[in-house]
Amino acid sequence: MEQVIANGLYLGTQYALIALGLTLIFGLMNVLNFAHGQMYVLGGFVTYTIYGQLGLPFPVAVLASGITLAVIGGLMERYLFRTVIRRSHREESTMLLAAATAFFFDAVILLIFGEKQRGVPKIVKGVFNHFGVILPYDRIVVAVIAGLMILAFILFMKYTRTGRAMRALAQDRVAAQLMGIKVDRYTMIGFALGAMLAGVVGGLLVSITGVNSGIGGPISVKAFLMIMIGGAGVAGGAIAGGFILGMMESVGLTVLREYGDVTYLVIFGALMVFLAIRPNGLMGKPWG
């Protein structure tokens, strides 16, 4: 049982970090960023290239993943989403744009990095094997980094000027504008931050799960699942959703293994019932 809990906690940390970026963009702009998984993949490939191929230090590679995606996210907001939001009053326009960027990224990544699964050398060797728990040290390191990043993100949103401005924007865009907050500027920063989180987590996890060009879609679906559980647009919700999904997976795969692959069947079934009762998720309210 100790192993099952450890597996769930580890999965939860990485899931929470994946979901944070998605929920930030949704909270700020009401945009469901279908390309979030592809951003994760791109971050993974940047780290693969810099750490795995060029042999530069792993932290440098992860940093480069974050910066690359932040720039891409900023440009996407400035030249794509901002334009569409201004010109179209239909919400589905941004959804279609997000879906189109997802397909575009899929094609570009496949073209540049090929069809193969890619991996990098382990960042830390050895396995922790005590108290009935077996966990490789690299997973522990990644989980700790992910945990610290989640904490840093929460503190950033709570105590910095930029974070407070973004929270105000998510709460009430018009009121925030009337209070003198530069909407365009902070929206772009928020989108870039969300994309950066996807890139960083992709870079971190390439050291454990590797990366391939086709996993963007499934990653997005899982991230959507998490924010549906926790409540879209709420940081605490994304974190809670990540941990709940990680734990449900871990327990389900152990307890239900004799019945075949019913774990996700049960998770989806439970989610349907849950959403019928709480359609906004656990913490279904905007930032603040």
Binding site: Q3, K116, N212, L253, T254
Partner: protein
């Protein structure tokens, strides 16, 4: 009146026309050969992209090679080979669309699809439009009468599995076996076939219901209960090349010390990057891959493929064969270019030199034992063991 501007325009027009004439004549010199279109319908995007991409690239490499040498002589005509591709995205509906596209283009020979449901879905279209297709899918009903247009392009798991288990029982003392499969039709049917074969050999099957989503990234939770059962052999039924290193790594990190095998083709580079030395000892099935058996032609193919696409894929050791068989069979009976019935007749007696293996190995159609008719390519059943970044031949088997 002719002014300067008019004169300039006329001169430019004249130059362009002259260039067009020169280019046209030089192009027509290259286009002297007729085109022979061969189709591909399979998956070249998404998580399973490696399966179809290795098919397409093998075909494109061979076609470019042959075309560079002046084309392929079939009967009294020489053809340039043109590969027409369609990405079915692993979706049977798209696979049907792809096969219909091939029919519209008048193509009679199509490589693919790569998975069971796609191969089953295209059957009516292929039969109605006189298309012979070469799936990488294992359902026996595709290849047994009354079906007659599908030709299995590789060794099926129910052919290689028993051979591998028997070898491991006799040489490695395997007694307990666990199966793990993705929750999709191909891996599940391969798992069921593997379980039946293992039981028939007297092996104790300690796990046969464990499955995972194909997009799983972390296999530790999936493997935790299986590793606790301490099997001697863990069989990864129908495992995708993207997932194999992740599963191997998770199993080894959880302390699993037994053997791990699969009946599908894998890529050494992917294993090396994804699992490193933890993948040592992993057993899989490949084609003419290892230095001990690969001919100079095979080596040149690998070289050309690498130059053309930047990196070789070991799955192409098997995928190289389909186009070779199609062209060699057409050479044996040129009437088959327009008539698949002629092709089917030729399959029963066809024999040609296997250019990819050392020695006097032959290309021929097999499958009589498994399907009751010759509806399978005789590709070498090379059982490999991964060791430090490369495959080593464990044993070579045959299918009749």
């Amino acid at each position: 009146m002719i002014n300067r501007r008019f004169a300039l325009k006329s001169a430019m027009l004249g130059t362009i026309s002259a260039m067009a004439l020169v280019m046209g004549s030089s192009f027509s010199a290259y286009a002297a050969n007729d085109k022979l279109k061969i189709g591909f319908v399979g998956v070249t995007s998404g998580p399973a992209a490696a399966w179809g991409t290795s098919n397409v690239r093998s075909m494109q490499t061979l076609a470019a090679w042959w075309n560079e040498k002046g084309g392929v002589k079939i009967g009294d005509k020489t053809y340039d080979i043109e590969i027409v591709t369609f990405d079915d995205q692993k979706d049977p509906k798209r696979a049907v669309e792809g096969m219909e596209k091939m029919a519209q283009e008048g193509i009679h020979y199509v490589v693919g699809p790569n998975v069971d449901d796609g191969a089953a879905a295209v059957r009516p279209v292929a039969e109605k439009n006189n298309i012979i297709y070469f799936p990488y899918a294992f359902p026996k009903e595709l290849y047994t009468a009354p079906a007659s247009n599908a030709v299995l392009g590789m060794i099926a798991n129910y052919q290689s599995g028993p051979a591998i288990y028997k070898y491991l029982m006799e040489n490695k003392g395997v007694k307990k076996v666990a199966f793990l499969a993705a929750n999709e039709s191909d891996p599940l049917s391969q798992r069921d076939g593997g379980v039946a074969a293992a039981k028939a050999l007297g092996l104790e099957v300690v796990a046969q219901n464990d499955t995972y989503q194909n997009d799983t990234r972390d296999f530790t939770p999936v493997l935790t209960p299986i590793v606790a059962l301490s099997p001697d052999l863990l069989v990864l039924s129908g495992v995708a090349p993207a997932n194999a290193p992740l599963i191997i790594r998770a199993a080894r990190e959880l302390g699993y010390e037994g053997l791990i095998s699969t009946e599908t083709a894998q890529d050494a580079k992917v294993l090396e990057e994804g699992a490193g030395e933890l993948a040592n000892g992993f057993i899989s099935v490949g084609g003419a891959s290892t230095p001990e058996i690969a001919s100079d032609t095979m080596k040149e193919f690998v070289d050309r493929y690498t130059k053309m696409f930047g990196e070789y894929n070991d799955e192409s050791n098997t995928k190289v064969y389909a186009l070779q068989y199609i062209i060699d069979t057409l050479k044996a009976n040129p009437a088959a270019i327009e008539s698949v019935d002629e092709y089917k007749k030729t399959m029963d007696s066809f024999s040609a030199a296997n250019p990819y293996l050392k020695g006097d190995a032959k290309l021929s159609y097999v499958g009589t034992t498994s399907f009751g008719q010759k509806r399978q390519l005789a590709v070498p059943m090379v059982v490999n063991e991964y060791k430090d970044g490369a495959f080593q031949t464990l044993f070579v088997g045959t299918v009749d």
